[in-house]
């Protein structure tokens, strides 16, 4: 695969945009014209070559710029990356998983050479060429989790599994939809999900936890989640709410197609074999409304989903005040025609 990496920003002048190819492979999350929470888990196995579901860790045209943005976030706030002392083994698990998978899936971009514990990692897009000793953190510039997640798109929650629960005991979180690792660190699955409306009553988290506790080595799973973001901000953290929250008031009927983004998270789940932990990568994909409506099926369906979404969810997802303006924009593209089942734009 030949990827041309964009030189773009996710702050200040916001030059982020999707190429036609990136729009086409956007993980549109709605397979029908309405939305409600569901566990909606499926095996993380390859689907349609070229889609974001094809490789274990998707690398796309935003890779280099996203990693640059992550480094800026970490410079300003090192607490976005934390690992409790018992999680170092899980960090090595994650480093091994990502290096092995990326070297296999993108041999022209990444190389991993292993001779026992002497490892040699080459990351061509970021210009990294490091030799280190596996399981010896003193041979890397950062801890193993931080080292590899500075080179991998998406946030990473590294979870300890014990007492029939999962614990947020390590993570790299710089592209989040308004939650804080520094606040959630050490919490269990029910504690960190406590703010989510409606889903607890539906028993979703009890079932989801049971599923996750049973995720097996070599059998990862995935699901999608979504929200709305004004301006292509990767970092919509509570820590910086004072900077981005106010931007939600800058939407106008003229700029909404460019400024309003659908934000989709591709969430995957992998068992970490050496530590018996679980890693939960949360990969953020952004798309402008004006990009999304280039596919008529998506435009019609998205209008219907936003229109019919329960008030609680629109509030929780943070766009209740802008919903009327978003609907006005999207309604231009909804002629009432039927939409085909499934998420793919051209099916």
């Amino acid at each position: 695969m030949n990827i041309r990496f964009n030189d773009e920003t996710f702050r200040n002048d916001y030059t982020f945009k999707n190429s036609d190819a990136a729009i086409k492979r956007f993980p549109f999350p709605f397979d029908k014209d309405s939305y409600m929470y569901a566990v909606n888990m499926e095996p993380h196995t390859p689907v349609r070559e070229g889609s974001v579901y094809y490789n274990s860790f998707d690398v796309d045209e935003h890779y280099v710029s996203e990693m640059r943005d992550r480094a800026m976030v970490l410079d300003e706030d090192p607490l976005r990356c934390q690992s409790l002392p018992h999680m170092e083994l899980a960090g090595w698990d994650l480093l091994e998983l990502i290096m092995v998978e990326k070297a296999k899936d993108y041999p022209d971009l990444f190389e991993l050479h292993r001779d026992g514990d002497n490892w040699h990692w080459i990351n061509k897009p970021l210009g990294i060429d490091d030799k280190f000793t596996f399981m010896d953190a003193t041979t890397l510039p950062y801890g193993p989790m931080e080292y590899i997640t500075r080179q991998t798109q998406g946030d990473f929650c590294v979870l300890d599994q014990r007492d029939d629960n999962l614990w947020m005991d390590a993570g790299m979180v710089t592209t989040q939809a308004d939650w804080s690792l520094d606040f959630d660190i050490g919490m269990n699955f029910f504690e960190w999900h406590a703010p989510v409306p409606l889903a607890h009553e539906k028993g979703i988290f009890v079932r989801a936890l049971k599923f996750l506790l049973n995720i097996q080595q070599g059998a990862p799973a995935r699901r999608l989640n979504w929200t709305m973001t004004v301006n292509p901000l990767l970092d919509t953290s509570p820590e910086n709410y004072h900077k981005w929250g106010i931007q939600k008031t800058t939407l106008t009927p003229e700029n909404i197609g460019n400024k309003q983004h659908l934000r989709v998270e591709l969430q995957t789940f992998f068992r970490l074999p050496r530590s018996n932990g679980l890693v939960f990568p949360i990969r953020c994909y952004l798309i402008k409304l004006e990009e999304l409506v280039t596919y008529p099926k998506w435009a019609r369906r998205f209008h219907r989903v936003i229109r019919d979404l329960p008030v609680e969810l629109a509030t929780y997802k943070g766009f209740i005040d802008n919903r009327p303006m978003i609907l006005e924009y999207l309604s231009q593209f909804d002629d009432g025609a039927e939409t085909s089942p499934g998420v793919w734009p051209e099916d």
Binding site: E96, Q216, Q217, G218, A219, P273, R274, N276
Partner: protein, 321 residues
């Protein structure tokens, strides 16, 4: 069958008689590749074709998690059991090709522990061997108390005491040696986690003693694989697949469901992991619940059954499968 953990095709490359009751088996991949990594305390499910009967038994991995050349397990012969261990002892030879599952861990170390206090009885030693290997590599602090029947039946006693003379204590039943549990639990530093694997009676004794001594529940870890108990044959209706099946005397309900060609979820097949939990749609009779996944109220509810180890006696049983 697509249920269970992913499968690995292996060849038996060594069979060693450890003592008169225990044999050790070494598995290497038939394709010559590396085994998956795993965490101490994990098990693999070994598939056996016992003269037409398909058996899947879980065995703890005892090799070092760092060693990716092979997996090793130890199997204690159970002359009274349904035949899985007898098959391993009598029919599995070097060179034989078998299928085992990817590692699954229901008995992992709590890596927050300042100290790991391990209590093993008999063949219950096996998960501790891989845990100790893992701790060796990370300078973990552990202490093992291991009860065996006699010197000659003490599997791996010599290896353990030679390598860890200060951290391993052996107790011989025939010499009337007993683990002084009360004092042992009393003298532990803050942050100690307790692990027990062995016969049912030992697990109950250790768990109760720890609870009585005020140990928090989440610091006490145990693993007990139950073998499915034989029982009277019974008939079951599978509502979703619209089949009526017979469960034989020495067959488990799960095995009977699988033998009927129905793909039912499972992992440990020992009543511990919860994966095979099945909804009961209707019944007239009584359940013989043998698992330790469902709680007492669920056992009494008549709404759920764990088909890997539990049975039924009565007129009709209809399952949502």
């Amino acid at each position: 069958m697509s249920s269970g953990a992913a499968k690995i095709a292996v060849k038996v490359t060594d069979v060693v008689e450890v003592n008169e009751l225990v044999k050790r088996f070494r598995f290497e991949r038939t394709d010559g590749g590396l085994m998956p990594t795993f965490s101490g305390g994990a098990h693999t499910v070994v598939e056996m074709d016992d003269h037409g009967t398909r058996r899947l038994n879980p065995y703890s991995l005892m090799s070092s998690p760092q060693d990716r050349s092979a997996f090793t397990i130890s199997v204690r012969r159970d002359d009274e059991g349904r035949g899985g261990s007898l098959f391993m002892h009598n029919h599995v030879k070097t060179g034989m090709e078998m299928t085992i599952s990817n590692p699954v861990n229901l008995f992992s170390l709590d890596l927050r522990a300042r100290k790991h206090l391990m209590i093993a009885g008999g063949i219950g030693i096996t998960p501790f061997l891989s845990q100790i290997a893992q701790l060796d590599n990370s300078n973990g602090n552990f202490e093992l108390h291991y009860a065996v029947r006699t010197k000659s039946l003490g599997s791996y006693v010599d290896e353990l005491t030679a390598k860890h003379p200060n951290d391993v204590k052996i107790y011989y039943d025939d010499q009337k040696e007993m683990i002084d549990l009360e004092n042992l639990l009393d003298g532990q530093p803050l942050g100690t986690h307790l692990y027990v694997c062995g016969p049912k009676g030992m697990i109950e004794w250790v768990r109760k003693s720890a609870a009585d001594a005020g140990w928090p529940r989440e610091t006490v870890h145990y693993e007990e694989f139950l073998a499915p108990e034989p029982g009277k044959p019974f008939e079951v209706k599978l509502a979703i697949s619209n089949k009526v099946i017979q469960v034989g005397e020495t067959q488990s309900l799960l095995e009977a469901i699988e033998a009927a060609g129905v793909d039912a979820p499972y992992l440990c097949r020992g009543g511990a992991c919860g994966m095979c939990e099945t909804e009961v749609i209707g019944y007239d009779g009584k359940f013989i619940h043998n698992d330790h996944w469902l709680d007492d109220s669920e056992h009494l509810s008549g709404k759920k059954i764990m088909p890997c180890v539990s049975r039924f006696e009565g007129k009709t049983l209809v399952l949502d499968r």
